[in-house]
Subunit: 325 residues, 2 copies
DNA sequence: GAAGCTACTGCAATCGATTACAGTCGGTCA
DNA sequence: TGACCGACTGTAATCGATTGCAGTAGCTTC
């Protein structure tokens, strides 16, 4: 692999000039041409490790998500990637598996690789951004919120829960169950709060056995739904608080014998790979791709030099600035 | 951020010794202890760009796939990641979008970052591994096969197509349509060949309008299926040659009016996010996670020094060695 | 013709870890 | 006592690109 020095020698200039040509800085046209020619002939490719060492940052952006197999996060990844590419950044997709240790390790690696920063959907409440912060790297938090003083983009989860529940009520459902996520997960708790709020506003009861906590995966949703089908009186509707749980709920219903009661299902999230016609479902779509795009834009603004206070963006019109909450 | 020199100073040793402690090379126990203590106190984190520059390789592995939103490839990614982690490698997931240009760019970056190598599901027939090859990096090709002389892991796609078709025939279907992928895509072509072969073996006709070429995505499958529903005589079965197309086919059928004919569906691939009971479908599962695991293992063998001829592994028992084909 | 200015260009230090090579030290053995 | 060995340690070169600084050449202006 040719080095910059070889290109410089061939073009009859110094490495400084080669570097400047490659960076698009002003250089006499004829030597710029000579450099480009030499680079092509040697098919020179810049060594990014050398560059990052010297510059103290690279063109890599870590995107840390709890589950790459969740279509929600892959859609986020698309949004991030498409936006980042335009700024010349490449995205490193990391899977934390909702494990704070794996998350910490990935963030440490990001710091150690001098990456430009990270966009993180955090596994636990507190985010170990120590290394990145010390290096002055950019951090944007998505989907779930944290205490740390960083830019954040997410949804108004209480509102989502409330809206989905209201839609069910509008359809005439009265006994509405909720499949929430693991206790301790903020998004799950908030959506559940929205469900409670909507029920309370409509003057409806909340029997404790109508609330189930599941892991936020397909099997969790399936098991929780199976459990709910056995409750008396049976719920007329089930609110699935995320996409995976929704899939599980639909699978459980599809597999249940025809003579069992068949509740309505509401899903917070999208079902791109549904194999049924889901137009009849109550759905509150989330537009994960836009979440990714917005997060990447905020990331790029920071990279570009923006130094204002940490921002909190709530998707769907409402944007909370940095004013004291 | 502390540097190795600072750790060395604090521990009263040279950077060479610090480096050796971190690498687990033999060092006097008391100085090793001093180094570890100093490292902890300064919460030192090694600079990987400096290391990669000097070593000429990093602990990063690029995994290039045509579509991160396809659950098949995210499952592959899980397999690769789980296996690579154990060897201390981190996986960089890159999305080529089936675009040879994007693919080339990602592979160039991998080379330029001195990554350990790449596992690639190639977009086009020829693979631009130039940069990586020149640096002596490892390359493993998955899912689709290429001319290049590199390790490859994939499926016997003709066999898959034949098996799915046979299962349909066993169910009594006679008029069997096939939704193939973009012409030029090897996996699609081979599965289609398998379909033809099975039909021929059973002495069945292949009316040309029973073969559709779709993009390998949900909308492609949906449109192709809609088209097939209008053909006379209507097909008794539809073979979807990949998972996304299968989803599209099922969606199209779910949305079609009840009085239209309703063909059987066979799918090559898995449907983890189906919202119906798919146990009644004809399915030929692929175990993408294992594909990832196997590819990563072969990758690690090369990293570990294996230098035999390029291997071709066909998943599901059959393994073709490096003997002349 | 001198001064000043624009527009480049090159030298050399620099980023931080790794490692070949040349010690150093303590112990063993003849 | 001296030769030698084993086990570690330090010095300094090295990886390849970037960039502050100090030019230099060519031009304009008075």
């Amino acid at each position: 692999m040719a080095t910059m020095a070889e290109v410089a020698a061939r073009a009859g200039v110094s490495t400084a000039t080669v570097s400047r040509v490659l960076a698009g800085k002003p250089v006499r046209p004829d030597s710029a041409e000579a450099v480009r020619a030499a680079a092509t002939e040697l098919d020179y490719e810049l060594d990014r490790t050398a560059r990052s060492l010297r510059r103290r940052y690279s063109d890599l952006l870590a995107l840390v998500v709890p589950d790459v197999e969740n279509p929600f996060f892959t859609a986020v990844a698309r949004g991030v990637e498409d936006t980042a590419r335009r700024a010349g950044l490449s995205v490193v997709l990391c899977n934390s598996d909702d494990d704070p240790d794996k998350e910490r390790r990935y963030l440490a690696i990001a710091a150690s690789e001098n990456m430009a920063g990270a966009i993180v959907a955090p596994a636990a409440g507190d985010l170990p951004v120590g290394g990145l912060a010390r290096k002055g790297a950019t951090v944007v938090v998505i989907d779930r919120s944290v205490e740390a003083d960083v830019d954040q983009v997410g949804f108004d989860n209480v509102a989502l829960g409330r809206e989905a529940t209201r839609l069910l009520i509008d359809r005439g459902c009265r006994r509405i169950a909720c499949i929430s996520g693991p206790s301790g997960m903020g998004t799950a708790r908030d959506r559940e709060l929205g469900w409670r709020a909507a029920l309370a506003e409509a003057g409806l009861e909340v029997p404790p056995e109508y609330l189930r906590h599941a892991n936020f995966r397909v099997d969790g949703g399936r098991r929780a739904t199976e459990g709910l089908l056995g409750v008396t009186p049976w719920p007329e509707a089930v609110l699935a608080t995320n996409n995976m749980v929704g899939i599980g709920a639909l699978q459980a219903l599809a597999a249940s014998p025809g003579d069992e009661p068949r509740p309505e299902v509401a899903v917070i999230g999208d079902l791109p790979y549904a194999t049924t016609d889901v137009s009849g479902l109550v759905q509150v779509p989330l537009r994960p791709r836009e979440l990714g795009v917005r997060a990447a834009e905020m990331f790029l603004e920071r990279l570009g030099g923006f130094t204002g206070a940490a921002r909190r963006v709530v998707l769907d019109g409402t944007t909370t600035g940095a004013e004291p909450a």
